[in-house]
Amino acid sequence: MPVFNSHTAFEIARGVKAFLNLEAGLTRNGLLDPQVSRDKDEEISRLRAELARLRSAPRPASSSTEEAPIFFLIGRSKSGTSWLMRLLNFHPEILCRGEGMFFDKDSPRSLLRALSRSEEVQTWLARSPWTRQAPDEGLKSMLGTFVSRAMMQRLEGARGRVGTKRIVGDKSPFKSANTVKDIGTFCPGAKVVHIIRDGRDVAVSSAHHRWNNATDVGGHRNLTPDQVAKREAYRSDPSAFLATGESIFAEGHVAEIARSWKESVGGTVENAASLGENYYELRYEDLLAEPIAEVRRLLGFLGADSGEKVAKECVEAASFEQLSGGRAQGEEDSSSFYRKGIAGDWKNHFSEEDKRVFKEEAGKLLIRLGYEKNLDW
């Protein structure tokens, strides 16, 4: 899949010409016998065919990620993507940063949306004689190449500081199952790591995340006075609050999360089938229970050094104690991004009604992913 350099190609064109001119000159001067000339004709047509083959190879844009050691770390938000990003970034060979937000045109912050929404870009694509056939295709390849270029450039920069870095990854949580599809389209050949967490824990974590991003504490999310009261009640005495059996969730929030978890996570698993061996799935829960074994497997997938020693260092550097600034796992700080860091916390939070709603919306996916055997929980 050649991305060749313009000077080289100009030289080739010139080379063909020089070759032909030379042949003409030699023949004119009687220096070339007809047999050699015939051989050369064959050779020239063969070389030309080869050139044509090189040129008709798939577009540079789609090939660049095949060559470049690029991966995307994705997952539903509150599923451990930041934790895993930090963990991987500690690896001497890996640069992992976030959040690029390259894909999914329905995602308000994505690059794809930015390009799709630029009227001027769209008009150009629609009217240029170079694009008339397929403006969307053009946009795609352009974006894919740009993404890998931006990431490779960062990798170069990081290599200046840590010479061993050679694999680069972007961590971006997804909003929908489009993200994995987009990666397959725009950056075919890139590796994708999908971290999955029990949707019920995602829901609990999301509720706390909402509280932390409320406008009254400097965030962007509007909470009803009811919700603020709930938050304050929980924070002043979590166990007393939970003992009342009241839900921590705002009206409709459990259903909303269960639905989006089902659609985005379930959809991603389905859409990832087309990525084949370039797709890798791991569980938040497994990463908690067997961190070193899990990390070693993941590093193997990424083509990085997966020795026990380096895996252990990564795990320790990104331990909950480190990330939370000293708290032990399970020791809750409701206001922290690294709140509690455990699996199954939903059991402490879900009201009976919350369970019913979640079961209804996403009970089947819980079973399919092996989080439950049936709906009797």
């Binding site: 313009s6 030289e11 080379g15 030699l26 040129r55 844009a61 940063r97 870009v121 740009f146």
Partner: protein, 363 residues
């Protein structure tokens, strides 16, 4: 040059040429590593890309046809990749007939895009413009090579009119390594041609920027071509503006092209292309690295002959309603009044001298 080559010498020379050529093919194939390992973008290129540019009504389309008829060259237009300052609002219309803004304008003026670049962890530490440049380069590369790959040609070029004075600088920054052919025509002839174009577009219902005074003059001229002998065909404002425009854009393109693109830049005169087409076309093909076999040169020249483009008229035989109106050099002498000459001299006399169209201001 080949006379001294005998026997083994001859075949070893052939072997060397063959080896050289194979080596180049290999280099081409190995080029795939460029992007993956380099990453910085500017060195990651694809095919031999060139641009044909020139001020409107200077023969850009004619030259495009000549080049496109070469078996190794795909050349068409107008991609309007460059000229970041060129946008649709120039035409003050949202009409469907309005052209799209340049791609560079579109990319540099998308608030969403800039916002993303300024915020994303992958780009926010750099100059946003550098990323936009890279995006522009990758896009241009992509579009041109995508179409090239559907043909069995080797070289691809876009014909983009000179829209502003930054063209050469933009090419040198965004697309180092691309070749540029700049076609230049006597500013007086192109001004005459351009005026005819304005009237033609107005009469055919296209967007135009003519004043009502100019439209009236156009009608008068159409009714009786001799009517304007004394008054001329231009308003003073139009002529001054056209002369100034030619001086600024062509002058800057010549200066920047030579200084910034060096060997990747060449010029051709509309007038030379008229009087010695084969010689000039051969030179341009050689510049691009295309086959300059005389038969091919002849084929290119004749496929784009005026008679062919104008569907049967001879050069000099005027049809004011046609894009290929008259196709001659020096027609300004039939149109310029003494006052017109004075105005043009005042605005652009120096560039006419610099480009060799005149020796001095005594014309």
């Amino acid at each position: 040059m080949t006379s001294g080559i005998e026997g083994n010498g001859r075949s070893s020379l052939l072997a060397r040429v063959r080896g050289l050529y194979r080596g180049r093919l290999r280099a081409l194939a190995d080029g795939k590593a460029t992007f993956a390992s380099g990453g910085a973008g500017s060195e990651a290129s694809s095919t031999p890309v060139f641009f044909v540019t020139g001020l409107g009504k200077s023969g850009t389309r004619w030259l495009t046809k000549i080049l496109d008829s070469h078996p190794e060259i795909l050349c068409k237009g107008e991609g309007r990749f460059f000229s970041a300052s060129w946008h649709r609002a120039d035409l003050e219309s949202e009409s469907d007939k309005a052209l799209a803004s340049s791609l560079y304008y579109a990319l540099t003026h998308s608030d969403h895009l800039r916002f993303w670049i300024e915020r994303s962890v992958w780009s926010r530490d750099d100059e946003p413009d550098e990323h936009l440049k890279a995006l522009m380069r990758l896009a241009t590369d992509y579009f041109l090579t995508a179409q090239l790959s559907e043909t069995d040609k080797m070289l691809v070029g876009d014909k983009s009119p000179l829209q502003d004075e930054e063209f050469m600088r933009e090419v040198s920054e965004v697309y180092p390594g691309a070749k540029v052919i700049h076609i230049i025509r006597d500013g007086r002839d192109r001004t005459v041609s351009s005026m005819h174009r304005g009237w033609r577009r107005a009469s055919q219902g296209y967007l135009h920027r003519l004043t009502s005074e100019e439209l009236t003059m156009g009608e008068a001229l159409r009714e009786d071509p001799n009517k304007l002998v004394e008054t001329g065909m231009f308003t003073e404002e139009r002529l001054r503006q056209a002369a100034r425009h030619w001086r600024l854009l062509v002058g800057r393109a010549v200066r920047d092209g030579r200084a910034l693109l060096g060997p990747d830049y060449t010029e051709v005169r509309y007038e030379d292309l008229l009087v010695r087409p084969n010689e000039e076309v051969e030179r341009l093909l050689d510049f691009l690295g295309a086959d300059t076999e005389p038969k091919i040169v002849e084929h290119c020249v004749s496929s784009a002959r005026f008679e062919k483009l104008s569907k049967g008229r001879e050069r000099g035989e005027e049809d004011p309603t046609s894009f290929y109106r008259k196709g001659v050099a020096g027609d300004w002498r039939n149109h310029f009044t003494a006052e017109d000459s004075r105005i043009f001299k005042e605005e652009a006399g120096d560039l006419l001298i610099q480009l060799g169209y005149e020796k001095d201001l005594d014309w």
